[in-house]
Symmetry: C2
Subunit: 375 residues, 2 copies
């Protein structure tokens, strides 16, 4: 379980790794590999940052005695090409990868900077967040179970890909390979466009009256959660991936026009266009994979009334566990003006009746499991 | 806790209540009041529905011996005016309320149907969902802690408002008063527009490739959760509240155009417009009230690594409870391709270090609490 992450990973066959840039991602990579016994060599444009990382047990300071198997260029996107050239020239490593969250432009810059094929480089994007927090926020388990996209180009050698793939696995992440442009389109769809829609919705709330906002339920909370993100960071991400993000948003805009048309009594489109869009939303939602990349299980959500006292939630989860049913997810509905709340336990539909019975037997007030309904 | 909801409510001073329409909402009202000892008289256009409700202990069948204090018209929106007229003519009750989720049109129809002032009627909207599931899905605790909007008109008498307010409180809900039009604009903003944005985003996923969708994280899951809702039901809600919903969506479209312009190298607007929109989203998000209608607490989310085994979640929550820190919310991050997940425990920021220490002491792998960051 905890504290023994290493046991869950394949034995690392990496000989040694150089980490250039000891921010949160670089230091987390270093900590994960050091924990496996892989020699790691740290450097940073700011030597103090590298010293902090080393003091946290992330690895050794200074250049390696001989070229490492892989160098992780965990520097800001604008510095990757230069860092790559310097690392290559100083024979820091035999293969190279970066960790930027948009990939096409990195590859272009590396290629144009070197003015040659780059068989020893493959772009990477660990989808594990927290880019800005520095070495002290680093964790050896930051990448556990997360996708880590690798974007080989036509020039990337099999040896490069194999070495970096090994590094990804050693960090506990799941390597996913696709071309750089496909990656950028993918994150535009599943990460960047959702961020924009969350911000668009939340922006409408900024000027709303207090009594209006008191009617907020879990729905608007979920839709707008991402809107709490850092504006500067997202400005950079969105403008760097502008084409791919705009392509998704233009389609959203076309659908939005259809909805507005359907809501206009003088509009040309019928209710049917509105229903079609809502149904397409049903289909899209169902396609998001569930836990562990499997097809989404259609969980039953079992609503249980709890008081808002310490220990009630733990007691509920313990009672649920004692019933022998695995709780797949937990959702807490916030009650207004009362010391009560609804906790929804997500379980496989077949298991819901058993769990319900068992909880009622133990004195819980369990409501009927129900598909998602509007307020 | 459970089973003793009545103790948490003010003693009911209601003499008797008629429930017209014994679907989920009507029957839930009846169950809540019957549990308090209030005589409830049930009727339904389908006598079998009313019999089911009575058999569940929701109240008595048939007309009351003398007019009830309140009649709850829990019938579909299109039938409210007629149900009101019939109930009034048969002296079913002294005051009347309905439970439809859009309110201006109901008031207009009631007024025009009666062709007179309606001082004995006040519109209502219990924000507790599950409208379609019938009497068997009804629960006495359906409204506990939920807002229940009342929309008095200029004609509504103080006596009517007081009686219906008493009914709402007796059901355990929190009465919130506002004009019908203000209610419709409020739910357009905090419920109907979020539904549309969730569907718009999810619709983009319907045709996406499998490897793209495997990169989905918690962000896109949250933004699209509402998109699983029933299309026919939402067609009705959105078209009935078309003006108010369209007003919000037109503002969303204007902001979306600003974003598209900022992402277009040939566009007129600068990055600054994009940052301004993201910042406005920050502000809007912060304005959503937290638990119990209070200002949103800025919780720290403490990420803990757990295996995906039964009992691990219960054990974690029990350990958290033993540490004396109240866990305000739980979020389960789904790990891909590994039998591991991240559970985020929301706690008050001051309590985070104590909880973290305590959990680490018990062998849990706790990551640094961190504000929301992009992947």
């Amino acid at each position: 379980m905890t504290g023994d992450d290493g046991r869950l990973r394949p034995a690392a066959s990496l000989e040694s790794v150089a980490v250039v840039g000891t921010g949160l991602i670089g230091t987390s990579v270093a900590l994960a590999l050091t924990a496996l016994g892989v020699p790691v060599f740290l450097s940073d444009a700011d030597p103090e940052q590298a010293r902090v990382a080393a003091s946290l047990g992330a690895g050794h300071l200074g250049p390696p005695p001989r070229p490492c198997e892989v160098a992780v260029l965990a520097v800001p996107p604008a510095h990757i090409a230069v860092a790559y050239e310097q690392a290559k020239r100083s024979r820091l490593a035999l293969t190279f990868t970066d960790v930027a969250s948009v990939k096409s432009n990195v590859l272009l810059e590396v290629q144009s900077h070197l003015a040659q094929d780059v068989e020893d480089f493959v772009g990477g994007h660990p989808m594990a967040g927290r880019e800005r927090s520095g070495p002290r926020a680093a964790r050896a388990d930051l990448f556990l179970g997360r996708p880590w996209v690798l974007t080989p180009s036509a020039a990337t050698s099999p040896r490069t890909l194999a070495a970096v793939r090994g590094l990804v696995r050693a960090c506990g992440a799941v390597p996913v390979e696709m071309p750089a442009r496909a990656h950028d389109q993918a994150v535009a769809l599943v990460s960047h466009a959702p961020q924009v829609l969350a911000s668009l919705m939340a922006a409408r709330l900024a000027g709303a009256d207090e009594p209006v906002l008191r009617l907020s339920g879990q729905g608007v909370r979920d839709v707008t959660r991402l809107a709490a993100s850092d504006p500067q960071l997202w400005r950079d991400i969105l403008t760097t991936n502008a084409d791919a993000v705009a392509a998704v948003l233009r389609e959203v805009r076309a659908d939005l026009d259809t909805v507005l048309d359907a809501l206009d009594p003088a509009g040309g489109s019928s209710d049917r266009a509105l229903v079609a869009l809502l149904e397409q939303g049903n289909r899209g939602r169902r396609r998001i994979p569930g836990k562990h990349g499997s097809a989404p299980a259609l969980y039953a959500f079992l609503p249980v009334v709890v008081t808002d006292r310490p220990r009630e939630l733990a007691r509920l989860l313990a009672d649920a566990a004692d019933s022998g049913v695995n709780v797949e997810d937990v959702r807490i509905e916030h009650a207004q003006g009362q010391p009560l709340g609804l906790v929804e336990l997500a379980v496989l539909p077949d298991a819901a009746p058993q769990l319900s019975q068992e909880l009622v037997r133990r004195g819980w007030s369990v409501q009927e499991p129900d598909p998602l309904q509007p307020d």
